[in-house]
């Protein structure tokens, strides 16, 4: 369950992750704590578990980041349809002025990251 929470967060689905964490996971966590010999032991075990799952998810996502473009290159049949080179830069000129300040800056950052990913590929 915690691994699922981690995956949701890595995908940016924090609301859903928080919902599970505060409901199903909180209940399961409380139950698990009851079976521990002491509060400190429960804390230790939980933290260890969390750290392992977080690391596992982080590694999986990192692996996917590396593996997917690699497989796409090596297995053309699995590759997504070729992109229009004109669209590859991701940042169409004069696309939009930023109206909402914060949203605008975050969108700029998104465009920057997309450009960086395109360069890496």
């Amino acid at each position: 369950m915690y691994r699922r929470i981690c995956f949701l967060r890595s995908e940016g689905l924090t609301d859903e992750a928080n919902r599970i964490e505060q409901t199903e996971f909180a209940a399961a966590s409380a139950k698990a704590r009851e079976s521990a010999e002491s509060e400190s032991e429960a804390d230790f075990l939980m933290k260890t578990l969390f750290a392992e799952e977080e690391a596992r998810v982080a590694e999986a996502v990192a692996l996917a980041e590396v593996l997917v473009p690699l497989l796409s290159r090596r297995l053309p049949l699995l590759a997504p349809p070729p992109r229009d080179p004109a669209a590859a830069s991701v940042a169409p000129r004069g696309r939009k002025p930023a109206n909402d300040e914060d949203r605008g800056i975050a969108d700029f950052i998104e465009e920057m990251l997309a450009q960086e990913r395109a360069v890496v590929r």
């Binding site: 929470i5 981690c6 995956f7 949701l8 967060r9 890595s10 995908e11 940016g12 924090t14 992750a17 939980m46 933290k47 969390f50 750290a51 977080e54 998810v57 982080a58 996502v61 990192a62 980041e65 830069s89 940042a91 169409p92 000129r93 004069g94 696309r95 939009k96 002025p97 930023a98 300040e101 914060d102 949203r103 605008g104 800056i105 975050a106 700029f108 950052i109 998104e110 465009e111 920057m112 990251l113 450009q115 960086e116 990913r117 360069v119």
Partner: protein, 385 residues
């Protein structure tokens, strides 16, 4: 278009572990109230750090620090250095230059001394978060067109010091910082993020960037490895030719430049008092200073016209009204009028070149802090370790 590579060969260092995604928040990790955001303009000569909490516009720390680390020499008598510190930073290091080995972590805008860079970043963290308890997320400015190795060197230097990082080109951050957010929706306000061209002249590089309402592509940015330091070098050489054995240090030459720099026709006489061999002398530096500074114009003008030429015909007339110079180079007397006149002489339609103003040292960091506040969780790069 890129006119020059700014890549540096890094010293050997272990592979760092930045990952281009945001891993899940840890249970027991610092709460959001414990997060401190930093906007950092990591400059070759001076760095600017701004810090503040997320979810507000408060700025709790605002400092400009010389980008220099001083390693105290062996054998210095106890008490000479406050607290018998082994490492000094910024102004303190410069004040004690007799007793320390001064190391500049950056050269031409990128990290050239990784160990010193790491020490400097520790100092930046200490300035921003004296308690040492906050989770630091930092947006750091990088020269336009900085290569992956240059970026990787920054990530390595902050690993274990900051928890998350975002690297964004400096001229774009300057545009964000220069933008007056309170006036964005006012009629008559020309939003620099919508259509402008920024010329950020720093110590190591001059960065030019078209900002037209979308994130600039690589073709919209040009970085030239000629800026304040290169002018210092030219002036230093010129002074040594004109006044052999003058004994002036590079630091003194820089001070002369910062006080007297100008571009355009020769301004003679330009008499500068200096102390040589313990005696006061007056040097006439009109041509020396002018020649060194005018070289900058010759370097950046082709890049400027290249970017103007790449703007669409619909936007270029407005763009020509919004050519903005920032960074230390904006303090060179006459730089706006000389560039403007040269454009006009070359037939450009009613060009207007402006100086960013008195906050020229801070715009990149202001933009960086704005970006830090606006960044989504999954946009940060998490620094493992």
């Amino acid at each position: 278009m890129t006119t020059a590579s700014i890549e540096k060969q890094p010293a050997a260092a272990p592979q760092q572990a930045a990952v281009p995604f945001a891993p899940p928040a840890r249970t027991g990790a610092p709460s959001r109230s414990n997060i401190l955001l930093i906007g950092l303009d990591l400059g070759t000569n001076k760095s600017c750090v701004l810090a503040g909490p997320p979810g507000s516009t408060d700025i709790t720390v605002s400092k400009v620090v010389p980008s220099v680390v001083g390693y105290v020499k062996d054998g210095i008598v106890d008490g000479i250095i406050t607290g018998n510190a082994k490492i000094l930073y910024g102004e303190e290091a410069l004040d004690q230059m007799l007793h320390v080995e001064l190391v500049a972590p950056l050269d031409e805008g990128v990290i050239s001394r990784p160990e010193a860079a790491r020490d400097f970043m520790l100092h930046i963290r200490q300035l921003a978060d004296p308690s040492g308890k906050a989770e630091i997320r930092a947006v750091v400015g990088v020269p336009a067109n900085a290569g992956e190795q240059a970026r990787e060197n920054i990530r390595r230097s902050v690993q274990g010091i900051f928890s998350r990082i975002l690297l964004i080109p400096e001229p774009f951050l300057a545009a964000l910082g220069y933008r007056d957010d309170s006036r964005v929706r006012q009629s008559g306000y020309v939003d620099p993020v919508v259509n402008s061209l920024f010329i950020d002249i720093g110590g190591g590089t001059s960065d030019l960037c078209l900002v037209q309402g979308y994130f600039p592509t690589r073709d919209d940015q040009i970085s030239i490895p000629f800026a304040g330091d290169a002018i210092d070098e030219l002036l230093f050489d010129e002074l040594n030719r004109t006044y052999p054995n003058n004994g002036l240090s590079r630091l003194t030459v820089r001070e002369i430049k910062e006080t007297h720099s100008y571009v355009g026709p020769s301004r003679k006489p330009l008499d500068v008092k200096v102390v040589i061999g313990g005696k006061s002398r007056t040097l006439e530096l009109g041509d020396s200073v002018g020649n060194a500074c005018n070289t900058l114009i010759d370097k950046i003008y082709p890049a400027l016209t290249t970017l103007i030429a790449s703007a669409s015909s619909d936007s270029v007339v407005t763009l020509l009204q919004n050519l903005i110079i920032t960074g230390g180079g904006s303090q060179i007397k006459g730089i706006d009028t000389v560039l403007q006149k040269r454009l006009a002489d070359d037939g450009y339609e009613n060009p207007k070149v402006r100086l960013a103003g008195q906050d020229f040292q801070r715009y990149v960091a202001i933009g960086a802090l704005k970006a830090a506040r606006a960044a989504r969780e999954n946009q940060w790069q998490v620094l493992l370790g």
